[in-house]
Symmetry: C2
Subunit: 217 residues, 2 copies
């Protein structure tokens, strides 16, 4: 069932795959090449990973874990919503960094609703929860209006997904423009949160939250 040898082989295939993804890109890394490089047969690779996409799901999981580690460190001693947001989001992109050049392929296999890798879907529930938890950590210890607090982490995660999408398209060196976007958007979001209790703004925000709840699931 769950022998040590088996787990070891699975890990070997996965690590070989991720290494090849990084060095050759996603499209150019064939399942046959992964199998050969890992010293197993093609069928064996498929015994452990039902599809090439499933390898991407592992990549997603690993990157979230990596983001979490980086974010936790970066958040220590960082105060204020704006800076804490920056820390979390920059951490995410740092973790994804090595995979930028096949971001397109990543999106192609990740976004289709029926895909196992779809970040909104069932299979990635855990990873998504972990990612949202990072934003819970971000707002912990910051001043956020109570009516906004429960929904905020998920909204921030959603915005983060948007940033990742932007990042995938970003062809500037070192994805400089995405970094600019983050540094510009973080204070804006912090400001928006802070004015959200004002009488002119609050009804709008509350209506938006209600809409989100109404439309969900």
């Amino acid at each position: 069932m769950d022998h040590a040898k088996s787990a070891q082989t699975k890990a070997l295939v996965l690590e070989t795959a991720l290494a090849m993804f990084r060095s050759k890109g996603f499209a150019k890394t064939t399942m046959r090449a992964i199998a050969t490089e890992a010293g197993v047969s093609l069928g064996s690779a498929y015994y452990y990973f039902a599809s090439k996409d499933e390898l991407v799901l592992e990549l997603y999981r690993e990157s979230v874990a990596e983001q979490r580690v980086r974010a936790t460190t970066a958040l220590v001693g960082t105060t204020g919503l704006s800076d804490r947001l920056k820390a979390a989001v920059h951490s995410g992109l740092d973790a994804l960094g090595p995979y930028h050049h096949f971001g397109g392929a990543f999106i192609a296999s990740a976004l289709p609703p029926q895909s196992a890798v779809n970040p909104f879907g069932e299979a990635s529930r855990q990873a998504r929860g972990d990612a949202v938890a990072i934003f819970e950590e971000v707002i912990d210890g910051t001043k956020v209006p109570a009516f906004l607090r429960p929904q905020l982490p998920e909204l921030l995660w959603l915005a983060y997904m948007g940033v990742v999408l932007f990042w995938v398209y970003d062809r500037s060196g070192d994805q400089r423009r995405t970094r600019m976007l983050i540094d510009g958007a973080a204070p804006l979001i912090a400001k928006l949160v802070s004015i959200s209790r004002l009488p002119v703004v609050r009804p709008l925000v509350e209506e938006a939250l209600a809409l989100k709840a109404r439309v969900q699931a």
Copy 2:
């Protein structure tokens, strides 16, 4: 070069493909099946369309044209930003309606940056311009603060892309939830536009516009 016969064959292949996409879905419609159904050889289909994705690009173009027709009609006699927004966006989804069940595949081939079908890319510049123009038509004759007006159509188009993404994931009957989202979000956006001149909000909006400009291209 551009013989009538040739154009006719091309149109035949395209229409056969779109019809099969609608009836069987994208993934299950193979290039071989399209060719057979259209009565041409596989190589001929590829002579006219360099890839399966290119057929999707045509679909995108057609759907934008269709949206434009529907929106223009729906906008006649419709006043107020909120209602005009609803008209335009509902028109878009009406046009896309028959293709909902392969929205996932659509996204998979549309979003990768290197894809010919990518709505942000070069190949779809024209179709994108047409789509943005619809939102120009939407705000024509509505009250929009001058500092916001030039950028607004593109922002609305971007939001519309978000709605389409939501729609692709929407598994409720007749995509009811997406319709709710539109009807809920349109008045919110209209409200946001109207309060954007207020002293507390305006600096935030201006800063966001500046960020958009800074980060673009």
